[in-house]
């Protein structure tokens, strides 16, 4: 054997050994890494889970993403011959022929279309676009958008005045309702609603506009939610009542009895103030309706739709039949439509002893008195609409891309109308389904969505169990914009969402079987796709106002107003560096609250901070200002005590611009 050959052989040998060494070690290291990230000993996950399939903008996205429709709102034309459906994830308005059971037209509208209303002649439809902050005017015969009306931020439901001259639009993010003059196409005035106004509905006589709100209007630390039901007198354009649904929130659906005597709303009664030590018997969430007696001195009654051992999560829409005999409630987390016997309900509240009604709001044993039936539906049932004769109920099954048609006499789904979504069920789509389903919670007590409407937050603080009763109250965080922001939890204990949503989640929150790993994977993949809404505080691509630029300079400053150097650890930008505005590390900023056992908290991402009040890890700060005016006594949450009030305003003005796409960009994309 020649020397060179020997050397080659030895060299190859060393190479092979090195390859094997690297390979084996690499594999071992990778396995350990996956185990660490997933928080389990034997994860079935692989590298692809975190590095490919849960990257919504990754290079392989097209392989595992599909353009689903996600029908959200469904409306029936006045003559019953057409259905109008908003396809939330495809930015389309669908025109559906209910007879032929097929989609006739798919009309591009703005981004994230939410609701649709149409004129009685079927000529024009108005579609609210959540992410374009606008209402599209759609010529239904031509199938084109003929105009756009700029409204408040995040418009959701809309309703036409009886004379079709005025459009009322609930601006969910800007907490007000636009009154749009359709002759001029102008948002002529806005009135202040509750927090996150969601649905708007006119009383049968058209004289009162009711606006539901999703979030509690008061955020006082450790006080129960109180959510507003706002009443506008449409003749005077004046808010005449602000009813408060005490202890309730996520009030999304509303309808009236035909005689106008009762307004019915859907609601959640959360139990966030009670230590989350148990789930049975409604100790985490309960779901029901509010019944407003629309007369002088009328009562606002809350009743549950749950049973003592069975929960009907996330009531979304409510529709009353033309004869006033029944109300249908879609439970988007339980895949059920509850049928309420309205005469029985009226009798129940009319004969209930006055002092027992308050207790009934928490009573899981009375629903059988007024619940006539539960109709199983497809996944994630959302908006509903009745045919003009009341015989058929059309229901948007959001995650199935179809409409269910319910026979209101037989009280069952009689057929479906396929809206033509992709046949393939992607991982993300399955995750979306899981996210919205309460199936993975003991007795169906809640879904992810119950506390994270639209993947956002519910503005509540919770007393979770693992760290003890009454300790470490935590502010519920938005799930939007999570990629790259690990670790999770305020304590930064969870290195990945797999851990966050894994077996400890099942042990301490859902209190049932943990997600199977394939489901967990799907869920995480879906959550990672949740984006922040476009940010209206930014005036255009890269453009900040003078005040916002001053605020940016303060955010990035290294010296105080007096010229003293600010230690790096006490500069805003140190812990909150762009683009995520978090350094992914814990810090003690002197924000320790009365219930805390720890003083270091994970620096949260500041993106889309503007609609995430309350603030701080325990939600004590009701506004951004309070972070510094009340809860930074030692001036360690970034040096700020030298700031003038104007400077603080500038800083906050800048903080509100962080995150989300530009609205302008969103428009052009839409």
């Amino acid at each position: 054997m020649s020397g060179s050959r020997r050397r080659r052989l030895i060299g190859s040998g060393i190479g092979v050994v090195l390859l094997v060494f690297v390979g084996v070690n690499g594999y071992t290291h990778s396995l350990e890494h996956v185990q660490y990230m997933a928080g389990t000993e034997s994860p079935s996950l692989n590298c692809f889970a975190c590095h490919v399939t849960t990257r919504p903008d990754g290079p392989f996205a097209s392989f595992y993403q599909e353009d689903y429709l996600s029908p959200l709102d469904v409306e029936v034309s006045a003559d019953g011959s057409s259905l109008y459906v908003t396809a939330e994830d495809l930015d389309r308005l669908l025109l559906v022929d209910p007879e032929r059971r097929e989609v006739l037209r798919s009309i591009p509208v703005g981004r994230r279309p939410h609701s649709v209303v149409a004129t009685r002649d079927g000529g024009t439809a108005y579609v609210s676009n959540r992410w374009s902050n606008s209402v599209s005017i759609v010529d239904l015969s031509a199938g084109t958008v003929t105009g756009e009306i700029e409204v408040g931020t995040g418009p959701s439901a809309l309703v036409l005045s009886p004379d079709e001259s005025t459009l009322y639009v609930a601006n969910t993010t800007s907490d007000n309702v636009s009154i749009v003059d359709l002759e001029t196409g102008e948002d002529r005035r806005r009135f202040v609603a509750g927090r996150n106004p969601y649905s708007v509905a006119l009383s049968p006589d058209g004289t009162a506009l009711y606006t539901t709100s999703r979030l509690s209007r008061d955020l006082t630390f450790r006080e129960p939610p109180a959510t507003e039901l706002t009443v506008l007198d449409t003749r005077s354009d004046r808010v005449v009542d602000r009813h408060v649904l005490q202890d309730a929130h996520v009030v999304e659906g509303i309808d009236f009895t035909p005689d106008g005597e009762l307004a019915l709303v859907t609601l959640i009664r959360p139990k966030n103030l009670i230590p989350a030590t148990q789930i049975d018997r409604g100790w985490m969430q309960t779901f029901g309706i509010g019944v407003l007696e629309r007369r002088e001195g009328g009562r606002l009654i809350q009743l549950l739709l749950d049973d003592v051992n069975a929960f009907y999560a996330d009531p979304y829409d409510i529709v009353v039949t033309p004869d006033g005999d029944r109300a249908f409630v879609s439970h988007s987390g339980a895949d059920v439509v509850t049928v309420i016997d309205l005469p029985a309900l009226r009798e129940f509240i009319d004969t209930a002893p006055p002092d027992s009604l308050a207790a009934y709001a928490n009573h899981l044993g009375v629903s059988s008195r007024y619940v006539e039936a539960r109709i199983p539906t497809g996944p994630n049932p959302k908006s509903m609409a009745l045919s003009p004769d009341g015989a058929l109920l059309y229901l948007a099954e959001r995650v199935a891309d179809r409409l269910a048609v319910i026979d209101t006499d037989r009280l069952e789904v009689v057929y479906h109308i396929d809206l033509g979504g992709p046949a393939r069920q992607t991982l993300i789509r399955r995750g979306q389904r899981l996210f919205h389903s309460a199936d993975h919670t003991f007795q169906g007590q809640f879904s992810c969505r119950s506390c994270h409407p639209e993947g956002h937050h519910d503005a509540l603080t919770y007393d979770l169990e693992p760290d003890g009763i009454g300790l470490n109250i935590v502010n519920n965080l938005s799930l939007r914009g999570l990629p790259g922001t690990a670790p999770y939890k305020w304590t930064g204990k969870n290195v990945s969402l797999y851990r966050q949503c894994g077996f400890r989640f099942a042990k301490w929150l859902t209190r049932t079987e943990p997600y199977a790993e394939k489901d967990l994977h799907a869920l995480v993949a879906y959550i990672m796709t949740l984006e922040h809404a476009p940010n209206r505080y930014r005036q255009g691509p890269g453009g900040l106002t003078a005040a916002q630029l001053r605020g940016k300079a303060i955010f990035e400053r290294e010296r105080t107003n007096d010229g003293e150097e600010i230690p790096p650890e006490n500069r805003c930008i140190t812990c909150h560096p762009p683009p995520l505005f978090t350094n992914l590390a814990k810090a003690d900023v002197g924000s320790t609250g009365p219930t805390d056992t720890e003083s270091e908290f994970d620096a949260p991402s500041l993106n889309n901070l503007y609609d995430q009040a309350p603030y701080l890890h325990d939600g004590r700060a009701m506004s951004l200002e309070e972070i510094w005016t009340r809860f930074a006594p030692e001036d360690r949450h970034g040096v700020a005590n030298d700031l003038t009030k104007t400077q603080l305003n500038d800083l906050i003005g800048y903080l509100k611009t962080l995150g989300g796409s530009d609205v302008g960009q969103a428009r052009t994309e839409g």
Partner: protein, 405 residues
């Protein structure tokens, strides 16, 4: 936390001139003035059908003389007799007192207190947003919004409000302005964005602002020691009006501009800007300034607490009587102590008439005024007055045996 809060108060207080420390007694009343200047176009008065729509204010061509007055005090249900401000809007008469706010509706007074969410019991100014019916209160501790019974207070801790001491407030559509002890605060009520204008970023010499009015897309700010500032809501451009002679003691050159830089109130109607100072009244028609003093006009006192214009007539609230003028004709109301009645002096510079009335304003220290159809509400240091029947001043001047001075 408390420590921090306290330090913040003092820190922001440090931006104030020393005079912010509020003195006791009558000086309190002097220090707590408000200007609100919108023409009332609100809902019909109490008792009328709310659905009937709005009643536009009739613009008066001559100065009215009210000869019948009613007085409201705690006996009638007011929270206090010390009335700092009165505002009519949206079918209600609102008052601000040292013991909270109250409104008159359907013949009853309804109180609004700190317990209800009001920022402070001392309510210095009130405005009603004619678009929405929302009511804004400037209090000694924050800006409070009342909206169909819901009460929220914005202060310097929980919001971008410049300072907790709010002397004046004006609300028009999405625009809300507050004159505070540390600058003028702007709030966009649609987006809840705040701005502060003070000596740091606006042509003010001091941050202390007293009154604010919004008219034709412009905010007018009465800035203590800084004259009147105009802020164009559309363009964000500033314009300032100062006393050209700069004299603090006298108005050196008549009608050369604003009579004094220490302004206390602004009100603009029919393109006429009225400015109250502690040294006289100014009128500006966009081209020419006129000054009015107690020695050369019907003005009862140079110490002006508040001004509100209605049509061409300015109602001027002073420490010694109430005046109404269109710049030519003057009507002055003074209470005669011990009689309960009062004297009305009517003059047009050439003719003067003096009339005695068995009823008049509740007190000569007058702090606020507003109008409800043909009636006038007056806030005084000892009760709320309502003038209910009037005659035209010019008619009275010709018919009353007026004498030529």
């Amino acid at each position: 936390m408390t420590r921090n809060a306290a330090s913040r108060v003092s820190r922001y207080a440090a931006h104030l001139p020393a005079a912010t420390a509020v003195p006791a007694g009558a000086a309190v009343v002097a220090a707590v003035m408000a200007v609100t200047g919108l023409v009332i176009t609100g809902r019909p008065a109490a008792g009328q059908d709310a659905a009937a729509g709005k009643v536009a204010t009739t613009t008066r061509s001559t100065v009215p003389v009210y000869d019948t007055w009613q007085t409201f005090t705690t006996r009638d249900g007011l929270p206090s007799d010390k009335i700092y401000t009165v505002k009519v809007g949206d079918g209600r008469v609102w008052i601000g007192t040292d013991k909270g706010a109250a409104y008159l509706e359907d013949g009853d007074w309804h109180l609004l207190t700190v317990e209800d969410g009001l920022g402070h019991s001392i309510v210095l100014s009130i405005d009603v947003n004619e678009e929405t019916g929302d009511v804004w209160f400037g209090t000694m501790s924050g800006l409070t919004r009342w909206s169909a019974g819901r009460v929220e207070t914005f202060d310097q801790f929980n919001s971008g409000l410049a300072n907790d001491v709010v002397y004046g407030v004006a609300a028009d559509g999405e625009h809300v302005w507050a004159a505070t002890a540390a600058g003028a605060a702007y709030l966009n009520a649609y987006t809840m964005e705040w701005g502060i204008f003070s000596d740091e970023n606006a042509p003010m010499h001091e941050p202390w602002t007293y009154g604010v009015d919004i008219s034709d897309g412009v905010a007018y700010i009465a800035a203590w020691g800084g004259g009147v500032l105009e802020y164009d809501l559309a363009t964000g451009e500033w314009r300032d009006h100062r006393d050209p002679d700069g004299e603090m003691e006298i108005d050196l050159f008549p009608d050369d501009g604003l009579v004094h830089d220490i302004t206390t109130a602004v009100s603009r109607e029919e393109e006429i800007l009225w400015v109250g100072t502690y040294f006289g009244l100014s009128r500006y028609d966009g081209a020419r300034w006129r000054g009015y003093f107690d020695h050369d006009s019907g003005l009862s006192s140079n110490f002006i607490n508040f001004v509100r214009a209605r049509g061409p007539v300015a109602w001027v609230c002073t420490d010694d009587g109430l005046n109404a003028t269109d710049g030519t004709t003057w009507v002055t109301y003074r209470r005669t102590e011990n009689t309960g009645g009062g004297e009305v002096l009517i003059s047009d510079g050439e003719t003067e008439a003096r009339r005695r009335h068995t009823s008049t304003i509740a007190h000569n220290y007058v702090l606020g005024v507003d109008f409800e159809e043909d009636r006038v509400w007056v806030a005084t240091a000892k009760g709320l007055s309502l003038g209910v029947a009037y005659r035209e001043a010019t008619a009275l001047l010709t018919s009353s045996g007026a004498r030529n001075e």
